[in-house]
Point group: C2
Chain length 266, copies 2
Amino acid sequence: MAEPQHKRQKTDKKYELLYHPRIPGRGEYVRLALEATGTQFVDVANQEEGGYAKVQAVFDPKSVGDEHGNPPAFAPPILKVHGEGKEGKDLVISQTSNILLYLGSKLGLIGSQEHELYIVNEIALTALDLSDGAHDTHHPLASVKFYEDQKEAALENSKNFREVRIPKFFSYFERVLKSNEAEGKGRHLVGSKLTYADTTLWQVLDGVKFAFPKEVDARQDDYPLLLGTFYGGLKQEKWLAEYLESDRRLKYSMGVFRHYPELDRQ
Amino acid sequence: MAEPQHKRQKTDKKYELLYHPRIPGRGEYVRLALEATGTQFVDVANQEEGGYAKVQAVFDPKSVGDEHGNPPAFAPPILKVHGEGKEGKDLVISQTSNILLYLGSKLGLIGSQEHELYIVNEIALTALDLSDGAHDTHHPLASVKFYEDQKEAALENSKNFREVRIPKFFSYFERVLKSNEAEGKGRHLVGSKLTYADTTLWQVLDGVKFAFPKEVDARQDDYPLLLGTFYGGLKQEKWLAEYLESDRRLKYSMGVFRHYPELDRQ
């Protein structure tokens, strides 16, 4: 008798996620795509002893690539896929949306028709732009400097983010859900099934709610599909509810999404 | 006798580029992929009377999509492809890297092996991150405000961009070229043929050189493959040399890449 699918997956080490340890960050977009499909993976920096050194080697500023023919990475998240690279060696790819594109194609998160892939990808990319915007609210001048050393600029950037960017992005996503309402019922952005646009947007919303709770709360009723049907509905799906309860879900802290009360609506 | 390929392409209106008029901007990454493959397209805002109104309708903040079943776009560039969308209707897609992914796949700019697509895409995405960083040097606080109203923050952001970001990105691209030197000879980032990673990085370099001429000049010798073999070599390729001489190549002005001498190395 064949081993059950579930059990087989539990011992499958095909996918390795290489990311900074202890924060959700941009690694979370990749984790959600894997969790949504019940795909086993190794979260290297969080699960292997000395794992972060292995991660750092891939984006080491002196690296000229690896023995599998992969170029160096600019920054994490990075995905390693055993046996899927050049001449059957390992594939090592980076850039969040690129990893999602790869996993989405392999794991069935890109919709059911060819053209849908590009709609899924554009929505995920736009969600990731909102994620980058949230990062820039606390680091508008230089990522390498402390928040405290750019606080004045952060206050200005955040004001614009809350007053201009949040409504612009939320309105866009609300209208995308509206445009697909016949098929997606407000629960899916593209077609009638879960895609990586859904998982990615969900995480961005969750992060923005964490960073700017008062701002999002004040706008709750303006985006009923987005913040109600979509965000709330997905959160109740079994796989996501279970994941959020598990110790695999890392807590927000000093990553992309940070809660500085002074940057929120006063 | 069949019509020559060149002539057929000249009357093919399959691809429409929807972008702001009169600036290269992010539309230029799409234009280069089309120019590199000799693909005829309509640059709607620059070539059609009243074209920009047609562009604006697609990202109108009230749009809930079009009659072809496409969702609204967040922002240009946007690509319209006749007959390639839902049930043979028109496909309308946005996000620069997503359009490049689509065109790259259709026009042969994604390398020759399956895994190469993801390497091409990650490098193009990283080049576009550098492009976004160049934009943020003059607009670190809010895109909707004038440069003059955020000049102090712009001076700080630019200092970091020149001293930290430029060498970090340039070093990365130099090492990618190095990692592929056996096949690409320093002229191609992935494999031995032109991909949209090449065309995209070339345009970013050209824009950064325009915006920060002194800074790039001072670093010229540090990146011989990138700024010499790759940038210089591609510029001499027939299609690019001809395009740069043509009136289709728009001049830099108030777009992503701007030359404010006070932001450059002093």
